[in-house]
Symmetry: C2
Subunit: 283 residues, 2 copies
């Protein structure tokens, strides 16, 4: 069932009173990664809502909001065959009002802590996580799920959303699901659609660097600088590295020595497509 309006969604939600509701928030262009979230939601909830909304306020002015893939019909078909109960696909006007300039001057924002934001993707994507938290809280308030499902692919995002839920006492449990990869190792992403076949090969550098860091850690190297330096041998002029960090996986605190609670995170442009990936060093 496809719902575009908040009012209709709220009515449906009322019908479901007493049931266990799962929400999978997405920007559409659904792939196997999203499907793994939906599958988990189906296993644990009575009713599953997938939201499909390309959220304007989490894109910077120079980012890919306009060209971000929009494939609602295919998304709807995928959701139907996965047994999703409602696909909620509001318009930007439905979410933010029409005629509103979308800015802190006119809209209430949810602003996660600087400590979590001023690093990794937040360093270059200024305002991105304010936009993410704001839309996620809006979706939580509209759908009122018991559980919400997020992929570990966007590691900083899920840490920040967990922090928001804790800080604001949001009555929703956050379920984090593992990264889904192609057989090659490439982490699934809607932005992979921007890549040529050659680009997809070059993009393997992200997972290769992470896997090698983990292998080195397992062999006993725990000095973070040394681990990060192992990346350079993989990089060519096809790769425009944005960051490579090894941090505490829950708090995003810096570490001098890696441990089993560490996560390695990478962002790198290939064919001018910004790709991210991450890997837990422990476990």
């Amino acid at each position: 069932m496809l719902i575009h309006s908040i009012k209709e969604l709220r009515e449906k939600r009322k019908e479901w009173s007493g049931l266990k509701i799962g929400l999978v928030p997405t920007m559409g262009a659904l792939h196997e990664g999203h499907l793994s979230l939906i599958k988990k939601a189906k296993e644990t909830c009575d009713k599953v809502v997938v939201s499909v909304f390309v959220n304007p306020i989490q894109f910077g002015p120079a980012e890919d909001f306009d060209k971000y893939p929009r494939t609602l019909e295919a998304d709807k078909a995928l959701c139907d065959s996965a047994g999703v109960d409602v696909v909620f696909a509001p318009s930007p006007d439905t979410m933010y009002g029409s005629g509103n300039r979308l800015s802190n001057d006119t809209l209430t924002y949810v602003c996660p802590p600087f400590f979590y934001v001023n690093k990794l993707c937040g360093k270059t994507r200024v305002g991105h996580f304010d936009g993410v938290c704001t839309v996620v809280l809006k979706l939580f308030n509209i759908v009122q799920p018991d559980l919400a499902f997020f992929g570990q692919k966007d590691a900083q995002q899920v840490i920040i959303i967990k922090k928001m839920v804790k800080d604001l006492n949001v009555p929703v449990e956050i379920i984090q699901c593992p990264i889904v990869r192609e057989e090659s190792g490439l982490a699934l992403s809607s932005r992979n659609k921007y890549l040529s076949e050659d680009g997809k090969v070059e993009a393997l550098v992200l997972s290769k660097i992470l896997n090698n860091i983990k292998a080195c850690y397992k062999r006993g190297i725990n000095d973070v600088s040394a681990l990060k330096e192992t990346a350079y041998s993989y990089l060519t002029d096809k790769h425009d590295m944005e960051y490579l960090e090894i941090l505490d996986k829950d708090t995003l605190e810096e570490q001098e020595k890696a441990n089993d609670n560490s996560i390695a995170l990478i962002a790198c442009r290939v064919e001018n497509v910004r790709l991210i990936d991450n890997l837990y060093l422990g476990g």
Copy 2:
């Protein structure tokens, strides 16, 4: 019933599933103004929660957080006799975690739009409305009320909270209740406790100025500058005026000409106690 812990409150809330819940958020030091909110809540809801929490993050470093009156026993007794079902009185540690420095560096904040914040009380109380919105959203998420009751005394606050509820799709209806005044005209406020008997007489200047502006408006004067100038004849060196504004009562937009949708708002220090008041010019 007095509850200090979030867990216990959530359990009580679960027992009330299906009932209509009203929340009256307060900082305690309850007076007839608060009681009017509680009375309204009792009339319209099955169960009424009054929260009593002096919220540290809405006070500036030079403000009166430490000396703000704390009278929980008396507040509890008043609530009991008014038929309140639960008084929720969490500690700062319960609300914000222990050991957290309370700052944007470590906590998720709800930030209302600059347009609503950068005027009136927000001009001098930097960060105040971020703190208010953050704690109110937290209380909403903990108590999950159907209705929440706020006094018009804090006019900018209730406008900002309504805007937050709209912007973030918060499933709570905001009920605004009229200002309660002493027979003298003085608007009730927990901060009136700081005033001497002489101070309470001097404090009448706020309501006198507002009443005179309304009288002038009713007599046909609608030029905002002219209306504001009528205040000067009331002021002496006992009064340290912070602002006097005439704005649209819903949007806080400036007006050159007052109309029936205007509100006059005043903030003035008497005996170094910061007092506020407001009055609708229409109706």
